[in-house]
């Protein structure tokens, strides 16, 4: 899909602040508010803008760190397990992957006890063969605005 300069600028501005008013975007870009609202509608219809959400600093409410779970499953069951994993309340993103694991999930974690229970929850799911984990420390976010937590 080809996006022009106007589309890209609108996306950038909304990424930085989803609550910005369309009028303000129009003013800053020196184009009409109608143009902005048409473009936003089009970007939404085409599925380029999927939704909008808040970025939270979860360390402020008791989540100490992020952990990556690398999960191996029985062939052909990846999609099924993925559906279950994404429903774990502290998991923020999960995907099928091609590489040494079949699935990857990122979760915010409160403490080691929580970490162990998450690992057990995943391991106990049918068709899950192995769970490998990496605990992220001193997480450096280059683009906090793009990383959804």
């Amino acid at each position: 899909m080809k996006l022009d300069h106007i589309d890209l600028t609108i996306l950038e501005m909304l990424k930085k602040d989803a609550r910005i008013s369309l009028r303000e975007i129009a003013r800053e870009m020196k184009i009409s508010a109608d143009t902005v609202s048409n473009r936003v509608e089009k970007l939404t219809q085409q599925g380029i803008i999927l939704s909008s959400t808040v970025i939270l600093d979860t360390s402020k409410i008791g989540y100490a760190f992020i952990t990556r779970f690398g999960i191996n499953v029985k062939p052909a069951y990846a999609a099924q397990v993925l559906e279950k994993i994404i429903k774990i309340p502290s998991v923020i993103i999960a995907s099928k992957v091609v590489g040494s694991n079949d699935l990857v999930a990122l979760s915010v974690v409160k403490n080691f006890h929580h970490l162990c229970s998450l690992r057990d929850t995943i391991l106990e799911m049918p068709y899950v063969e192995n769970v490998d984990l990496g605990m992220w420390i001193n997480t450096m976010e280059i683009c906090p605005h793009y990383f959804l937590i």
Binding site: L56, D57, I92, V104, I137
Partner: protein, 157 residues
């Protein structure tokens, strides 16, 4: 790590905004049964304490030019992790770069255009001194994002 208190109203506001960050304060007020000013104050308060770092739109990277989300795991000779991390941070396309405990010393997530770029990034990292091994995983299909589902509880620290 200083924890802050959030009450049931804060949680309600955040849950509504998780699903639609553009929801007008007035609507949130109606749905929670408090005044628009209260919502405004809570929003600003949560921003001030740093719990609410901002709002953003979720974009499908496949529909724009950037096509692949890639996880990168790097093993580094002790004690050079910090030094290597600083080099990786400078590579274009990096989204998150972090120290890690587990199989890898450094983990990163990047959004890259194509297989050539993935290979270039992998080789760039492998060429850094003190790097022992680089593993790459390419995310396929649409990743399931769940800022909407992410559940937090009220908390009286």
């Amino acid at each position: 790590m200083s924890e802050i208190n959030i009450d049931a109203l804060d949680v309600k506001i955040l849950r509504l905004l998780q699903g639609d960050a553009r929801k007008p304060f007035q609507e949130i007020a109606q749905q929670t049964g408090v005044s628009t000013d209260t919502i405004k104050n809570r929003f600003h308060q949560m921003t001030k304490t740093g719990l609410l770092r901002g709002t953003t739109i979720v974009v499908d990277p496949k529909k724009i030019d950037q096509n692949h989300v890639v996880s990168i795991g790097v093993q580094v000779t002790n004690p050079y992790a910090e030094q290597v991390l600083n080099l990786i941070k400078k590579i274009p396309g990096m989204y998150v770069v972090t120290r890690s405990v587990g199989r890898y010393d450094i983990e990163a997530i990047a959004i890259l255009k194509d297989i050539e770029q993935i290979s270039t990034v992998k080789n760039t990292i492998a060429d850094f001194q003190q790097v022992q091994n680089v593993d790459i995983e390419i995310w396929v299909d649409k990743p399931l994002l769940c800022p909407k589902n992410f559940e937090f509880e009220e908390n009286h620290a």
